[in-house]
Symmetry: C2
């Protein structure tokens, strides 16, 4: 879910990127994360908020990361080991490291392999939450590569016809470079919605729309629902019902489980007895397949053709994947990031506990 451009709301405090970055970095350091990793983690989280992806940034995920460092579930200073490797692939044991810290390292490996072999692909196991998957895919852009990333998580999504969640929201992200247009950036769960959307709707007093979740028996709820009445986790795969193709969203979620958890030797979404996060990143060097300039100009043409599609009645325009996020990004870079007062209060409280001075309120 991409936020609006950050229009003032009495429940929000607007914070400039640099202030937020500095604070997040300090918190990671206080939790035992080495400086360079803390900088990486802060960049992933703040970039996420700059792009308006509230559900995965400082507002949506940071508190759970802090909690998991404190209760020992996440290792602040992991020793990442390459357990298998070829010239084009690697599998990493991430030593309980946080995904937003280890996945950038994995993507660097994938990019360096793709630079030589044309393709690089790296799986990760024994790791934690990956945050916004497109961050790692986007690392490929400046190298004139296509970036791909996916991650599987603990079960919150029902298989088609199922009454118990067996799959994570298992997003897929792909970034591809352009010449004139903003880069193509796709990033979405294979479920109808990501699970933390429900918390955001609770906070904002919004209803859960029809067809997004199931009832406690697994039947899709086709009316609006108060988020406080939701008995989850019972998210639906993309497609909502079998008739509308939920077996496709379900199958894509399984595909992500296979390419992340099972291929990395880690397990799968509902594998018992552990935090089930597994990731995969890949880089494809465009020059290995075609001219970079032709690729970029053709992708420009594709994006322009999509944008110029006449809209259906009631709509102003056709968007392309990532467009809304680029628009929010440009705005928030200049005007700051709106953060809900509940999150500000949590930050204050955390800073007090960790003995960090906080420069904004």
């Amino acid at each position: 879910m991409v936020a609006n451009l950050g229009a003032m709301d009495q429940n929000n405090v607007v914070v400039m990127e640099s202030e937020l970055r500095s604070l997040v970095e300090q918190i990671f350091i206080k939790l035992g994360v080495p400086l360079i990793d803390a900088q990486t983690a802060a960049d992933v989280l703040v970039t996420t908020d700059l792009r308006g992806v509230e559900s995965h940034g400082v507002s949506g995920q940071f508190s759970s990361y802090v909690e998991d460092y404190r209760n020992g579930i996440t290792n602040p200073d992991p020793v990442v080991t390459i357990v298998r490797e070829t010239s084009a692939s690697a599998n990493l044991d991430c030593d309980k490291g946080l995904g937003i810290i280890v996945a950038p390292k994995a993507m660097e490996i994938a990019i360096s392999k793709a630079a030589v072999q044309g393709v690089g692909m790296v799986t990760m196991h024994n790791t934690r939450h990956m945050g916004m998957a497109s961050y790692y895919a986007m690392m490929a852009l400046e190298k004139d590569m296509i970036g791909l990333s996916m991650t599987s998580a603990g079960p919150s999504v029902l298989p088609t016809f199922g009454a118990i969640p067996r799959l994570g929201t298992n997003p897929i992200a792909l970034a591809a470079p352009t010449s004139q247009e903003n880069p193509f950036v796709y990033d979405a769960a294979t479920s109808v919605i990501a699970s933390n959307k429900i918390d955001i709707w609770k906070r904002s007093g919004k209803k859960i729309g029809p067809g997004l979740v199931a009832d406690m028996f697994g039947s899709p709820i086709m009316d609006s629902l108060d988020p406080n009445d939701y008995v989850g986790p019972a998210l639906l795969p993309l497609g909502t019902t079998r008739e509308l193709g939920s077996h496709k969203g379900y199958g894509l979620a399984c595909m992500v489980s296979i390419l992340t958890g099972i291929l990395s030797g880690g397990g799968f979404d509902s594998f018992p007895g552990r935090p089930n996060y597994y990731h995969m990143v890949a880089a494809y060097k465009i020059e290995a397949f075609t001219d970079v300039s032709i690729f970029k100009s053709t992708l420009d043409d594709f994006i322009v053709a999509l944008k110029n599609t006449p809209p259906m009645p009631g709509q102003d325009r056709v968007l392309v994947p990532g467009q809304k996020e680029w628009e929010v990004f440009e705005h928030r870079k200049k005007h700051g990031i709106p953060i809900h007062k509940d999150v500000i209060n949590w930050l204050k409280h955390t800073c007090q506990e960790l003995n960090i001075s906080m420069n904004f309120q």
Copy 2:
């Protein structure tokens, strides 16, 4: 759409696999296709019908292939050229060759590269229809690899909010090997339905269900529709509406366009002035990432966990991707393939024209 197990229907003739294979092969040969390619093409088409994927087999696609050979759109004896290559990647100019003939060659290249480098990825341009995408993904299974394939086609699918089709149905297929269970095989369009489903519904007198297509102004039709009243192409991306996540199906379709058409230097779905088919296949060698035996047993466990999910009210069981197709495959291997009498009549007519004797009626 997977057919039922082939229950007798007065409109169907049941044909044994070997008879159908032989006939299809002879037709390809008469159209100028070399023997070995004709055998490959027949295997792809008959395997598709054996798996119950009517929309892409002899019943669904063969007549259009024959027509395109006859009118010179498809080259019966293409010289496939590797235009760029690295140790892990290749891009093929397919010389107007039919996808079901050139994609197996591409997958063999991907597999041979993955055998050495862990990963192999091959793009294809200047080609024609790919048929059932999972055929090529499944070629990886016996090599203890994961197979991936995708293809983009001419525009029939609306972007979210758009009134004019800009995207193909752009399917993604993934196959992964197991030990005890049937292999995992996912294969589905990124649109709610594949376009030739509508022809099949016309033939069988079925209605188009709600939420599968749009009206001529781009608005999703949320009631049932007589297929004869459908003014297309105006298929909807997986997700149907923006509220139900159609921007995800739309974004996945774009991802396929990028990894097939644009990365191969060919173009994109709505690129003007040519038959816009582009493909990509990839192979991932499991041993490069983890132990093959662990991978297979974990995938078995995953499949069993999914199958054992308690069903929602009104459903008997939870299926896994490819399960229904395996069940149909087993049945049709033994009992034959039901083919609609209209298709039989077309086969008869074609055999007469090509001076081939047909052993079943």
